[in-house]
């Protein structure tokens, strides 16, 4: 909210500059987000002038050459294009050297051959009002440069700043949603009063020139009191529509409102001052002079002021006259009953609407305004009469109107003020610093609370405008703390009482797994949890696939972000495609994150933490010395080795088909009787859908890994004797898996076998059709002695025999 500082100072004027006011408001809960300079930055070179003579320009029909007395010995020659300029006028003049609000610096300028020594100003050139009426003529408008200022017609040469509000500091405030009472200038003034101790002027609505009681000229019916707790209206007659005075225009402009005409400007002024929006109807255009507030019909169409037809639903509220809807309550008026230049009778509506309902309607219709933004915060019904009082006075003063007797006032009865006990000890217990009862009372009274001392603290009565926000002792403690307490708060640490911080086993496993991949040269990515349903098709998932049991959003931002990812593969592929197109073909990335499936059992979704790796292109940069390997099944498997062996997991793979993997190069990763995930090369059609060449990947459930990984690793004894190493080359049918061979070797070798691995694989004519040769590296070790070839000979024989059973033959 933008608050012009002079306006604020009218009600509370602490001995502080704008920076001091900013600091006090910010530190007490009304954050100043920005300070704007409205109007001119420097008032130098802006003076009052008197037009001595306005003659024709020799070379331009639309321009006039004016001789203007600017308080100097000689009059200045100023060329002016405004049609209303005339001799005898007192005007606002910018002299050469003046800097206009838009930053332009004025110079002597030649206009069609005549040198102009300055500029006669229009309102909009000074950011006072919206302009459009030519230059400002000061004689008619003075002496109202402020609502309380009076003065004679100023002499030429007088600094313009002395007679017109041409420069104003404006503070832009963040008002938190619990403080709708601060959506008006006077509410902010009260905060400033509490924050600084400077005097607060009496509320500007405390004297109401209007009267209560029935109104003869119009009637109002409220059919939905749940959505409209209070509806007030006053009738004004003999209204003269015209421009507003300069001070009013200047304040509205500085607050960021457009100026329209005196009646509309008055409604906006009263709103900015009280926080309460108002709406002016031309009473002669309100059919039947009666208004009915009702819920809209489902699908009902209403034409709003901006010319658009809006379709409503049954939870929105419209205001009807005898001929149907005239406006959407709290959001926008209708064109039919708008105030026009010929309006003479005004019905001024000031109503309270249900905040959440207005919030909902305004979002649903995409209609947001200064009024709806206030209503949706939840205003108090008392505020209706604040606004009526302000507006009534100004309607009489500025529009020459007569207020009809009475006030239409539907549906409100003020509840008694709430009383809350504030215990002195409790303030200290919550804050950790003491605030004296006297100071507590002083703060609360400054904020319009009533206080009464009692044995253990204060009995506090809550003002109407704060009744929604302050309902408990803790709320009062906050009021005290924000004005006095927070700034002097010491910095202490909690007692802790034995609490000690630590990571869980699963969290440590997750970190270690990520670190293992980083240590192997992979970059971690962080992808979107959202994905698109089309991903499931691009991954070739059949209709019944478990991964299609997705968590779907009711209100996604777009189709592309409408479901929660059931796999990390999508975000890895997206990141791979992005980087291939920008940074080249070599990709080695992983992601560690949550994946989601709809749950059939629990109330929530199935979420688990997965880690997935994706490799494409070369495994390392090109080198002058070695040819780097290419991403394939075994490159991915080696990384999986590095990861799972980190946790000493007993695991294996089993050829398994996955819809998105190469059917001949894919496997399930198994451990502890569970499937941890998949490993394989992507199906070329899947890789191709992301513009990738050969790509390998794996994904595993880190939750399962954590459950299988022992949190406690036990020591295993080893002796001082060296290992005996032997190689064994054996040919086998290609159908025999290497894993089976290794398993047989382990099973038959007995306990002296320390390790066995495949170090070469050969197929070719030498080993025969349908067969291949595997070279095995064996290492044997005993705890108590150095083993010899003789010790191992029988073991070796057993191994050869066992391999013979699956078609193995020793190679010579």
């Amino acid at each position: 909210m933008r608050v012009p500082l002079p306006w604020l100072r009218e009600y509370c004027d602490p001995d502080l500059d704008v920076g001091g006011i900013e600091e006090r408001l910010t530190m007490t809960g009304t954050k100043v987000e920005a300070i704007h300079r409205h109007g001119v930055a420097s008032t130098e070179h802006f003076v009052v002038g008197r037009v001595l003579e306005a003659g024709p320009h020799p070379d331009a029909d639309r321009l006039k050459v004016c001789m203007v007395d600017v308080g100097e010995d000689d009059p200045a020659t100023i060329v002016c294009g405004a049609p209303n300029v005339a001799g005898g006028q007192t005007v606002a003049v910018a002299r050469p050297g003046a800097v206009m609000p838009d930053g332009t610096k004025l110079k002597h300028a030649k206009l069609r051959g005549v040198v102009s020594e300055g500029m006669i100003l229009a309102e909009n050139e000074l950011e006072i009002g919206s302009g459009g009426e030519g230059i400002m003529v000061l004689d008619g408008l003075l002496p109202d440069s402020g609502p309380r200022r009076a003065g004679a017609v100023p002499r030429p040469g007088t600094s313009l700043a002395d007679v017109l509000p041409i420069a104003m500091d404006v503070v832009e405030l963040e008002i938190t949603p619990n403080r709708p009472d601060c959506l008006g200038v006077y509410g902010v003034a009260r905060e400033l009063h509490a924050a600084t101790g400077a005097d607060l002027a009496q509320a500007p609505w405390s004297e109401d020139v209007g009267s209560q009681g029935p109104v003869a000229e119009a009637s109002v019916t409220v059919e939905c009191p749940d959505l409209c707790p209070r509806f007030t209206a006053r009738v004004f007659e003999n209204v003269t529509i015209g421009p507003s005075p300069t001070w009013l225009k200047a304040r509205l402009s500085a607050a960021g409102m457009r100026t329209i005409n005196n009646v509309v400007d008055i409604t906006n002024y009263a709103m900015l001052l009280t926080g309460q929006p108002l709406h002016a109807f031309d009473l002669d255009r309100v059919a039947g002079a009666r208004l009915t507030v009702r819920r809209a019909k489902e699908g009902e169409q209403v034409q709003t002021l901006d010319g658009q037809a809006r379709t409503l639903d049954g939870e929105m509220v419209v205001i009807d006259d005898a001929e149907g809807p005239t406006s959407i309550a709290g959001l926008m008026g209708g064109a039919r009953s708008e105030v026009e230049p010929d309006t003479t009778r005004v019905l001024l509506e000031v109503a309270t609407w249900s905040g959440p309902n207005i919030h909902r309607s305004s979002w649903a219709l995409g209609l947001r305004s200064e009024a709806s933004g206030r209503f949706e915060k939840g205003l108090q019904p008392e505020q209706c009469m604040h606004a009526q009082a302000i507006a009534t006075r100004l309607m009489i003063e500025l529009c020459g109107a007569d207020v009809a007797p009475g006030t239409i006032d539907v549906g409100w009865e003020a509840p008694p003020a709430q009383a809350i006990r504030l215990r002195e000890g409790r303030v200290r217990a919550i804050l950790g610093v003491a605030v004296s009862v006297q100071r507590q009372a002083e703060i609360l009274r400054a904020l319009d609370f009533a206080t009464e001392p009692v044995k253990d603290g204060l009995e506090v009565s809550v003002p109407a405008l704060r009744r929604d926000d302050v309902t408990r002792e803790i709320d009062l403690i906050e009021e005290v703390a924000r004005i006095d307490g927070l700034e002097s708060l010491p910095a202490t640490l909690p007692a802790r009482r034995g609490a000690a911080g630590r990571l869980t086993h699963a969290q440590r496993v997750r970190r270690a797994a990520e670190d293992a991949m980083v240590g192997r040269g992979l970059h971690e990515i962080v992808g979107w949890s959202f994905t698109e349903p089309a991903l499931l098709d691009r991954l070739r998932l059949p209709a019944e696939d478990a991964m299609r049991r997705v968590v779907a959003l009711e209100n996604p931002l777009s189709e592309g972000q409408s479901i929660m990812r059931p796999t990390l593969l999508g975000s890895l592929l997206d990141a791979a495609r992005h980087n291939v197109s920008r940074n080249g073909p070599d990709i080695a990335i992983f992601e560690s994150g949550t994946v989601y499936r709809a749950s059939h059992e629990g109330p929530l979704a199935d979420e688990h933490h997965a880690l997935a790796v994706l490799l494409s292109g070369s495994l390392a940069p090109r080198s002058w010395r070695v040819r780097p390997g290419q991403a394939d099944f075994f490159a991915a498997k080696a990384l999986l080795d590095a990861l799972l062996d980190r946790f000493h997991l007993d695991w294996s793979v089993e050829p398994t088909s996955w819809p998105f993997l190469h059917p001949g190069r894919s496997a399930a990763v198994l451990s502890g009787g569970e499937t941890l995930g998949f490993l394989g090369e992507l199906h070329p059609l899947v890789a191709g859908a992301w513009d990738l060449e050969r790509t390998a990947a794996f994904a595993i459930d880190l939750g399962k890994v954590a459950a299988l990984a022992s949190p406690l690793l036990a020591f295993g004894a080893f002796g001082p004797f060296p290992a005996l190493r032997q190689d064994l080359a054996v040919t086998l049918p290609v159908s025999v898996a290497a894993g089976e061979v290794l398993e047989r070797v382990r099973a038959t070798a007995g306990e002296t076998l320390d390790d066995v691995s495949v170090f070469d694989v050969y197929t070719g004519a030498q080993v025969g059709e349908g067969r291949r040769s595997l070279a095995l590296a064996l290492s044997f070790r005993a705890l108590d002695r150095t083993l010899t070839d003789e010790d191992i000979a029988p073991v070796r024989e057993r191994i050869v025999a066992a391999l013979g059973e699956i078609g193995g033959e020793l190679r010579g």
Binding site: A499, V526, A552, E554, R582, A620
Partner: protein, 359 residues
């Protein structure tokens, strides 16, 4: 004879010291100490000398022979060393060629690195790390956190709802990590000191908002945890992240589930809290304010405790007249942005390697 021995020794020593190859030394060894050389010959003939002379000549010849052998050995070793050095000097590589095979450097994503850094700071302050579901119930995300039934944050414009059975779903993507406050209190009795890192969601998308982002919730509940304790805890955090000279200030604010609520500012580390730089320019980071807003916090609203049922797991439970505490929620993206000067939130999720390689 003694003179002859000395003469032979002097002559041989001269030749050995002048020898410049191991071959030449071998030749000298044969010439002076070999079977037919004069010195060994004299030694062999010592027996034939008069007893009087025998001892003196034997001693001198033996000493001369040992001296020459030692000298040859030393000279051989010296020459071998020089020859090795020479051959090594000739065996040169271009040390400026890159290492091979190349070792690729992997990195954690800056969000993970930042999250871990923050977790570790709070671990050191005695907080345990907890996690919770991202698909959350309306109850934990809003109701139990003191949001009125009509609170605007519940609107479909502010919260992602999960498709459910016809008639409406009560599942949302959590809009903050705060629902874990009540879950944590349901699972554990006080005293409770936890931080909850995690991913959260709101339907906003522009340069300063992404529909997913990461928070770290903090919650400390005990008999006597004050707002001053919150300030002290966050001061430690601020100094650990942004430097020992940092200060924090608490500004009043509003959140439905804390009371009093505050926003917490850290003194700007770029301009040292002055608001302007050494050259007089306004600090771009804090925009001249001298303070950087880093998180929202407050004392846990008593209404939140009333949503925590007392069970066997958390007995004696959370009675707002007996226990009190603080909570905060901070944005991981925001901290990383401030710390590293990252200009646009969307960079985090684009995963361009040129971004990932930087941290």
């Amino acid at each position: 004879m003694i003179e002859r021995i000395e003469q032979l020794r002097t002559q041989a020593e001269g030749e050995i010291s002048r020898a410049d190859s191991s071959e030449a030394l071998e030749e000298l060894r044969v010439r002076h100490l070999g079977r037919r050389a004069e010195l060994p010959q004299m030694l062999r003939e010592v027996a034939g000398l008069a007893v009087k002379e025998r001892a003196a000549v034997g001693q001198a010849a033996n000493a001369a022979r040992q001296a020459l052998e030692t000298m040859i050995q030393a000279r051989v070793a010296q020459l071998a060393g020089e020859e090795l050095e020479a051959s090594l000097r000739a065996d040169r590589v271009d040390v400026t060629l890159p290492g091979a095979p190349p070792q690729t450097i992997g990195r954690l994503h800056v969000l993970t690195a930042t999250r871990r850094e923050l977790e570790d700071i709070f671990l050191g302050l005695g907080f345990t790390v907890m996690e919770g579901p991202e698909v959350e119930t309306v109850h934990y995300n809003f109701d139990a956190l003191n949001h009125s039934p009509t609170h605007p944050a519940r609107a479909r414009t502010d919260t992602f709802y999960v498709e459910g059975p016809p008639g409406g779903s009560d599942l949302v993507l959590r809009t903050h990590t705060s629902p874990m406050q009540v879950r944590a209190m349901e699972a554990h009795p006080p005293p409770l000191y936890v931080v909850i890192p995690g991913r959260v969601y709101r339907p906003d998308s522009d340069a300063t908002h992404t529909p997913q982002f990461h928070q770290i919730e903090g919650l400390a509940v005990d008999e006597d945890i004050t707002l001053a304790d919150l300030k002290g805890t966050l001061l430690e955090f601020a100094r650990a992240v942004f430097g020992d000279e940092r200060d924090v200030r608490l500004r009043p604010h509003f959140f439905p589930f804390t009371e009093p609520s505050v926003e917490v500012d850290v003194s700007c580390f770029h301009c040292d809290g002055k608001g302007f730089l050494r050259d007089g320019a306004r600090c771009y980071l804090c925009k001249g304010e001298g303070w950087l807003e880093v998180l929202g916090a407050g004392e846990v609203d008593p209404n939140v405790y009333s949503h925590v049922p007392t069970t066997e797991r958390n007995a004696p439970g959370y009675d707002p007249e007996k226990i009190q505490g603080f909570a905060w929620g901070l944005g991981v993206e925001r901290i990383a942005m401030l710390k590293h000067g990252i200009p646009d939130l969307r960079l985090y999720y684009e995963n361009d390697l040129r971004f990932l390689e930087q941290f």
